[in-house]
Amino acid sequence: MKKTLRASQLVGLGLLIGLLAFSVLGMAFSPYSISQQDLNAVLDAPSSAHWLGTDHFGRSMLTRMAYAVGLSFALGVLCVVTSSLLGTALGVWAVWGGKRVDHVLGMMVNILLALPGLVVVLLFAAIVPGSFWILYLAISLVQWVEYFRVVRAITQNVIQSPARQSSEMMGFSRWYQFKRHIWPAIAPSVFTLAAFGGANAILTMASLGFVYVGIQPPLAELGLMTVELFPFYSDAPWLLAQPLVVIALMVFGFHLLAGKRV
C-alpha cells in the first residue's frame, strides 16, 4: 500500500509509537521491578525518585505502567497478527475453495458468533485464570471472524468481477489474481479491521483485569491497576488517572490509525 496516511492517522500512529517508546524505555532503564515494594513510600506523588509516584504498596508506578503498556501492546499485536492472517486466509479460501469449504467455515463462524465476544473470552479466562496465553487464544478466536466475514464478502465480489475473470481467462495464476485483484480490494478493510482489532484486544484484556478475572496480581495490567488504585482516588488521584488515561490513549490511537469506520 503506497497510499499516504492522513493527518489524523499520523497522529494516531505517533500516539502509539510514543506509548510504545515509553514502555520499552521504562522497562529497560527503570531501576525498580514491578513487584518491588517500599512500604515507607506509599502513595507518593511523582518525584525525582519515582517519576510517576508509587502505588499503595510503594511500588514504582512508572515501572508498572511501562510493563502494563508493554503487555497490552504485546497482546494487541499478537492478536492482530494471528486473527488477521487466519481470517484473511480463510476468508479467501471460503470463496475459492468451493461450496463445501464455504459451508464448513460458515458453520464455524456461526458457532463463534452465537455468543458475544466478551462472554466467550470470559469463559475461556475461567478455564486458566490469569493466563496471558489463554487470553491471547480466546481473543484471537473471537477476532478472526470479523476479518473472515469482511474478506469473504469482498473476495466474493472480486471473484465475480470482470477484471479477475479476464485475468483468469488470459492464463494468470491464482497467486497473481490474489496479488493484483483480491489483495488490493481487501487490504484497506483488513488494515482498518486490524487497527480496531488492536484496540479491542487491549480493551478486552483491560476489561477482564477490571472485573478481576484477567491477568492476576502482582503483575501489572491496566484494567487491574484501575481497580487496585480506585480506593485511593481521593488520596492520590494522579495514580488512578494513569491507567485510565493510558487505556483511553491507546484505544484512541488505534481508532485514529484506523482512519475510518468499518
Binding site: A114, L115, I127, F252
Partner: protein
C-alpha cells in the same frame, strides 16, 4: 421470515451447546481435587471431610468417565436443570431469574436513552452540517475511544463522589439506575449517532429524496414519507451489530456499579469458580443475545420488507 427464525433457532441451539461444552471443559480442567475444593468453598475450609467431598463428587458426576459425564451434563442442560451454586448452595435458576430482571432493566433504559441521544443528534448533524457536525462527531470519536468502564469510573468520580448527586453503586432506588444507564447509553450513542447521521446524509442526498420535492412535496412531507423509513433501515440493521457492544457493556457496567445483573453475576462466578452459576449466567446471556437479535431481525423485515438485510 421462516428462514430467519430457523437461523435464530439454530443459533439458540449453538449457544446452549457452546456454553454447555465450554463450562464442562472448565469443570474437568480445574486443578487439584475438584470435589474437595468445591466442598471447601461450600462448607468452609474447616468443615470439609471426605464425606462432603464424596457427596459433591457424586452430585457433579465427577466420578464418571469424561464421555458419560459430558452426556449427562448436556442432558441436564437440555432440561434446563442448572444445578446449585457451589458457593451459596442455592438453585442457580432462582439467582438467574433475579439477575435477568435487573439486567433487562439496565439494558432497556440504557438503550432508550441512547436512542433519545443518538437520533436527534445524528439527524441534526446531517441536516445542518458543519460546524456543529464536526464538533459532535469529534466528541463521539473521543467517547467511543473511552472504554466503557473508564467512562463509568469518570461518572462515579464526578457525579457520585465529587458532587454526590447519585449513589456510587448498588440498586434499589431509581437514582441507582441513573449512572449505569447513562454510561451504557453514552457509549452506545457515541457509535450509533454516527450511523444515524451517515444514513440521514445519504438519504437527504438520494435522488428519490430530491425527486419527491420535485414532485411538489414540501420538505417536511418528503422527510415524513421518504426520509424517516429509509434512514431507519441501516440504523436498525446496525443495531443488530451493536447488540454485542451492549451485552459487553452490561458485563462491565454491572461489575463497576455492583448492579446485580447477569454480567455482574458472571464475573463474580468466574472469580469464585462457581461453575453452575457461570454456566447459567453465560447461558442466559447468550439466550438474551439471540432473543434480541431475533427482535432486530423482525424489526428490519418490518421496516424494509424487501428482505435485503445485510448480514
Amino acid at each position: 421470515m421462516k428462514a430467519m427464525l430457523l437461523k435464530r433457532a439454530l443459533q439458540l441451539v449453538t449457544v446452549v451447546w457452546g456454553v454447555g461444552t465450554l463450562t464442562f471443559v472448565l469443570m474437568r480442567s480445574l486443578p487439584g481435587d475438584m470435589a474437595y475444593r468445591i466442598a471447601a468453598s461450600r462448607y468452609g475450609q474447616d468443615n470439609v471431610n471426605s464425606d462432603a467431598a464424596a457427596l459433591v463428587r457424586q452430585e457433579l458426576n465427577l466420578d464418571q468417565s469424561a464421555f458419560v459425564a459430558y452426556w449427562h451434563w448436556l442432558l441436564d442442560l437440555l432440561q434446563f436443570n442448572l444445578g446449585h451454586s457451589l458457593v451459596s448452595g442455592l438453585p442457580v435458576i432462582d439467582a438467574i431469574q433475579h439477575m435477568l430482571g435487573h439486567s433487562l432493566l439496565l439494558a432497556l433504559s440504557g438503550l432508550l436513552i441512547s436512542i433519545l441521544i443518538a437520533v436527534p443528534i445524528g439527524l441534526f448533524c446531517a441536516w445542518r452540517g458543519n460546524p456543529l457536525d464536526s464538533v459532535f462527531m469529534g466528541l463521539s470519536s473521543v467517547i467511543r475511544a473511552t472504554p466503557v468502564f473508564v467512562l463509568g469510573v469518570l461518572f462515579i468520580l464526578l457525579f457520585a463522589l465529587h458532587w454526590n448527586w447519585f449513589p456510587v453503586a448498588g440498586f434499589g432506588t431509581p437514582a441507582h439506575l441513573v449512572l449505569p444507564a447513562l454510561t451504557l447509553a453514552l457509549s452506545l450513542a457515541a457509535v450509533s449517532n454516527r450511523v444515524v447521521r451517515d444514513s440521514a446524509k445519504q438519504t437527504f442526498q438520494a435522488a428519490f429524496y430530491q425527486f419527491s420535492k420535485v414532485k411538489g412535496l414540501s420538505a417536511w412531507q418528503t422527510f415524513k414519507r421518504h426520509g424517516a423509513r429509509n434512514i431507519a433501515v441501516p440504523v436498525v440493521a446496525f443495531f443488530g451489530i451493536q447488540l454485542v457492544s451492549m451485552i459487553e457493556g452490561i458485563v462491565m457496567i454491572e461489575s463497576l456499579f455492583s448492579w446485580p445483573g447477569i454480567g455482574h453475576g458472571l464475573a463474580h462466578a468466574i472469580f469464585a469458580r462457581d461453575i453452575p452459576v457461570i454456566q447459567g449466567a453465560a447461558l442466559v446471556m447468550g439466550m438474551l443475545f439471540v432473543a434480541l437479535n431475533t427482535l432486530v431481525d423482525i424489526l428490519c423485515l418490518w421496516i424494509d420488507p424487501r428482505g435485503a438485510r445485510e448480514a
